[in-house]
């Protein structure tokens, strides 16, 4: 069901940052939500309300504001659990997706992966879902394998069964941050299950942009960051299947993750707190709960539909610029891609393109997008990347196109 009756122009009004023009007096055209999303007023208010009305540490305080803080913190966990169709004991607060993935690497990985095993990931991964597995392979002697990617940035599954032979862990991104390609989890997960592998999905670019049901996806771990889905920085989530989390040793040790501590021995706390040592990021967790409320009210089907339309509109709007040397990378197919557009213009370096767009108030990313092996494989030194979200309008995409035309004029291409 598509719930939203609101337009992106109306949604934009909920984000105070858009009330401020750039120093050149330009309307802010924010096309870098794949790096971090903007925050609606309700999320900002949740942070301010916590700090100004009930700032207190959670779980042990007996006074009123401590109870209120604990309730709000745990209520946010329940909201996130419902949002992804998980049990609240399966939602572990982390700093971000990267920390969630590292948690699995150090806790589950060191316990379960050994020399004879293989870890299967893809050629498209963000460094966050590659470097932790390089470290785990180094520590355990396991081997790393990669699902190849074709020139359009689409995963090639022809040899999937052979690649899965002897694999202990499949670690794959839900959506590519560089190209927007949506991974065909519906094909990879059953094959990985049949091979007996554990499955981790890096959902940093997935959950902000489409409905996610971890039970329906049938994955073991799903990691994501709050700040890419309207929430604050510093808060992220590791979803893990209950029985796996139960069997895993703690990652970080200290306060809050314990049940009973003696000088020589400790009994650990129940899930999810076993994995939440030290004072948690209370305000940011509460505000992420508000971000989830905001997205739920819009409806994730609507979010996905809006991005599909935005990408289709952008592809059409930019197509005429191909005669000026514009090259668009990735699948160029809104059916299998999220709202991400990677491109280059003739011999204009991506950073120069980004600087010229900046003068028009257009914020895009330029560089390797934390996917250096993919860029090397594709032979791209750098790309410019525009990424769309709920507050982006067709006018934003028109301004992007005009900015690229300006760059083409300046560089005489």
């Amino acid at each position: 069901m598509i719930a939203a009756t609101r337009t992106p122009e109306m949604i934009r009004e909920d984000f105070p940052i858009f009330a401020h023009p750039t120093s050149r007096g330009k309307r802010l055209v924010y096309l870098d939500s794949a790096a971090t999303s903007q925050k609606p007023q309700a999320v900002i208010d949740a942070l301010v309300t916590y700090y100004s009305e009930y700032n207190a540490n959670i779980h042990r305080g007996v006074y009123e504001i401590a109870a209120r803080a604990t309730d709000a913190f745990e209520a946010a966990r329940v909201k996130v659990a419902r949002f992804i169709n998980a049990d609240q004991r399966e939602v572990i607060w982390t700093r971000n997706a990267t920390e969630a993935i590292n948690l699995v690497g150090y806790s589950w990985g060191l316990q379960n992966v050994s020399r004879a095993d293989a870890i299967l990931t893809t050629q498209i991964e963000h460094h966050s879902n590659l470097v932790p597995w390089q470290l785990l392979a180094e520590k355990t002697g396991a081997t790393l394998r990669f699902i190849p990617v074709d020139g359009r940035g689409v995963l090639q599954l022809d040899n999937l069964d052979r690649l899965l032979d002897g694999v202990k862990l499949v670690a794959i991104s839900h959506v590519s941050n560089t190209l927007g390609t949506i991974s065909p989890l519906e094909r990879i997960v059953p094959a990985a299950r049949a091979a007996g592998a554990t499955i981790l999905v890096d959902g940093a670019q997935g959950i902000p942009h489409m409905p996610v049901d971890v039970r329906a996806l049938d994955v073991d771990f799903y990691a994501f960051s709050g700040h890419k889905m309207l929430g604050p920085t510093g808060i992220g989530v590791l979803y893990g299947k209950h029985e796996l989390l139960e069997a895993m040793p703690p990652f970080l040790a200290g306060g809050d993750m314990i049940r009973k501590v003696e000088y020589e021995h400790t009994t650990f706390n129940d899930l999810p707190w076993k994995f939440e040592a030290g004072t948690s990021n209370i305000a940011d967790a509460i505000a992420l709960g508000v971000a989830v409320d905001y997205l739920s009210a819009l409806g994730m089907e609507w979010v996905r539909a809006h991005e599909r339309e935005s990408l289709a509109y952008a592809l059409g709007r930019l197509a005429p610029l191909e005669s000026r040397g514009l090259r668009i990378y990735g699948p160029k197919d809104p059916a299998i891609a999220s709202g991400v557009l990677s491109f280059n213009l003739a011999d204009v370096h991506a950073h120069d393109l980004a600087s010229i767009l900046d003068t028009e108030g257009v914020c895009i990313r330029a560089g390797h997008h934390c996917t250096m092996p993919l860029m090397e494989k594709m032979g791209w030194p750098a790309t410019a990347r525009a990424s769309f979200y709920i507050y982006n309008t067709q006018a934003d995409i028109d301004t992007l196109a005009l900015g690229i035309e300006k760059a083409a004029r300046i560089f005489n291409v």
Binding site: D347, V348, H349, A350, H351, D352, S355, I356, D358, T359, A366, G367, H368, P381, A382, K406, I410, F411, N412
Partner: protein
């Protein structure tokens, strides 16, 4: 920032001066700009303490490559010890107009590399001195 991309800058970007390698450079240095991944290498032929010839190679944005190209012209004939003491002004005089603070490292990469070659160790960032 759009003021920056003037015709002579784009000319240095597309037709870099003193681009390539020396057969036997007396000193050389190379470095990366961590922000952009821009790369620059400077090779200097030195005779009697004076830079007799210079070549650079690199890849990256117009700011880094044009700045490096112009710098090769500025340091030819200069005493090596004077190259080592160059300040950011030598770059800014050529290309300074309109560079945003976020791109200053791009402009200074060539100078940092040229100074590193002259000093014999990695120089600091000229814009931070």
């Amino acid at each position: 920032m759009d003021d920056f991309y003037r015709d002579f800058i784009l000319d240095h970007y597309r037709n870099p001066r003193n681009y390539g390698h020396l057969e036997r450079p007396a000193v050389w240095a190379e470095d990366l700009n961590p922000l952009c991944g821009d790369q620059i290498r400077f090779e200097l032929a030195v005779d009697g303490g004076v830079v007799r010839d210079v070549r650079f190679t690199g890849k990256g944005c117009a700011i880094s490559q044009a700045s490096a190209s112009m710098l090769t012209e500025a340091i030819k004939g200069m005493r090596l010890e004077d190259v080592a003491r160059l300040s950011k002004d030598v770059v800014l005089e050529n290309v300074g107009i309109g560079i945003s603070p976020t791109r200053m490292k791009c402009a200074m990469l060539g100078l940092r590399v040229a100074k590193s070659a002259a000093i014999g160790e990695i120089a600091g960032w000229p814009d931070e001195e």
